[in-house]
């Protein structure tokens, strides 16, 4: 059985019940999907915009659809999946609110990975340098970045509240460690398990 060193994958795997139907939005090379199929016997499908990544997904024997996240969800009927995953793509989605609500329509539960733009290192850069932060985890210069949405773990929690989205579980991590102490200051990523009636 293959094993992933990535803690975010491990958290997501722990969130997901065996034999579930899973849609991974922005599935990349399909590494997470492959783990879900192998370890959790899930029925998985992915959506990915990068053509080269599609080949790598197919090489893993995955079912994958070439397209963008925004248009990919409309094809599916309500609650068609047990889980919809948006792990590393959230900050690159322009109409994020619409996509998350759509994901909650087609999925009974939604798992999102939230990059924390308010990690203390970033905050220091803003405070002392007076510049938009560039960190190891968020390495892009402001003028050349795939990210179009900048938010923190706390912002995301507020977003859920405003949109009546239930947070069923959440974990925060920094590098390879779980963070429970002031995650909005010390975590790089928050992973949320969401649902909506």
């Amino acid at each position: 059985m293959s094993h992933s060193d990535r803690l975010d994958y491990q958290i997501i795997l722990d969130f997901i019940e065996p034999n579930s139907r899973v849609l991974d939005l922005g599935c990349g090379d399909g590494e997470l999907l492959a783990l879900l199929i192998e370890q959790k016997k899930c029925h998985g499908t992915g959506i990915e915009i990068d053509e080269k990544a599609i080949y790598r997904c197919m090489a893993k024997g995955l079912t994958v659809s070439h397209g963008d996240i925004n248009s990919g969800l409309a094809d599916y009927s309500n609650k068609r999946f047990d889980y919809v995953i948006l792990n590393e793509s959230l900050q690159q989605i322009l109409n994020l609110q619409k996509v998350i609500l759509e994901a909650l329509r087609v999925g009974k539960k939604v798992i999102v990975g939230v990059p924390n733009f308010c990690h203390w290192r970033g905050r220091l850069q803003v405070l002392f340098n007076g510049q938009v932060p560039v960190t190891k985890k968020l390495p892009f210069e402001w003028y050349n970045t795939p990210n179009v949405r900048f938010f923190s773990i706390k912002d995301f929690q507020n977003f859920c509240l405003m949109n009546k989205i239930k947070v069923l579980d959440h974990k925060a991590l920094a590098d390879d460690n779980l963070v429970s102490f002031f995650p909005n200051l010390f975590a790089h990523i928050g992973i949320f398990l969401l649902s909506k009636d």
Binding site: T45, Y55, T63, V64, S65, D75
Partner: protein
Amino acid sequence: MGKNSVGIVKTQYFECCESPQELKLKGGQRLGPITVAYETYGNLNNQKSNAILIFHALSGDAHAAGWHEEAKNPGWWDGMIGPGKAFDTNKYFVICANVLGSCKGSTGPASINPKTGKPYGLSFPVVTIEDMVEVQKLLIDHLGIKKLLSTAGGSMGGLLALKWSVLYPETTASVITIATNHRHTAQQIALHEVCRQAIMSDPDWQGGDYYGKSIPARGLALSRMIGHITYMSEKSMDDKFGRKLIGKEKVGYDFTQDFEVENYLKYRGDSFVQRFDANSYLYLTKTLDYFDLAEEGALVSTFRNVTANFLVISFSSDWLYPSYQSTELVRALKANDIDVSNIEINTNYGHDSFLVEIEGQSKLISHFLTRLEKKHL
């Protein structure tokens, strides 16, 4: 001939639909007897579970792979079919049959009508994609195959693969469609109509009754020239020819050929006349234009009984069967909970990509088939 070639192959012939069991066509007429030209590559396993049926495009034939004795070129999809290739003949039994209405060995307008002893010409009934599928189903039954591992086709071949999946959903585990769509659009019909008018306005066409006389060579060549423009992209044409002149230093300011692209089209047109029957071209373009998978309702409900896994491939520069048409197909499949993978391959070769862009397609298809093989073999 490389070591990954299926080697020397021979076309075989299957006879069916003899009186009184003529094929009942969608248009209401009955047709028989029918000859089906086909080729097979690789070996059928004992369970007869490793067969893949390949459907060819408009002007294609049963000779998909390998070499005919003393031929200069291999079959039309030789890059895809053979030992170690996408359709790996070490593992799969690959079948390709010439469609009904063609002129490459199967019964069509150039065939002799047994009732009159003369070629059918325009007395041949117009056949549909459905009729073509029915005939190939008889062939598959004849070969003793109950369930195909896959059906695959590009362009017109894709239409057959789609129709098969809907008509006989239980008989194929998977479907691979390439550069195709679920219904012919107004532009596709319009282009075909220009091709047909080119043939029919040639005085040598003689109402389709030209067999044994002079053939409508100019009309058919012109028709093919038009076709060829639609198979390429603006970019691939410009890359290949640009404004290069043919055998001259400067343009002639007359109506002789100046540009290489003119010469190329003429060559393509003229060589097509040597290998294809004008009436078949008329009939097959009609067959395509009549195709509408959703003619009895919404496309989504058309697929309600389909269980096969799908791989849908399209090409970014294909303007004859543009990618968005494949996307429509994918959406309808997804709405039916059908397992579908799809990709738009970024390439400049236009509609011809399905014949030319071998590397990407090979990877996708071999991975897709490997997954199915684990489930079904």
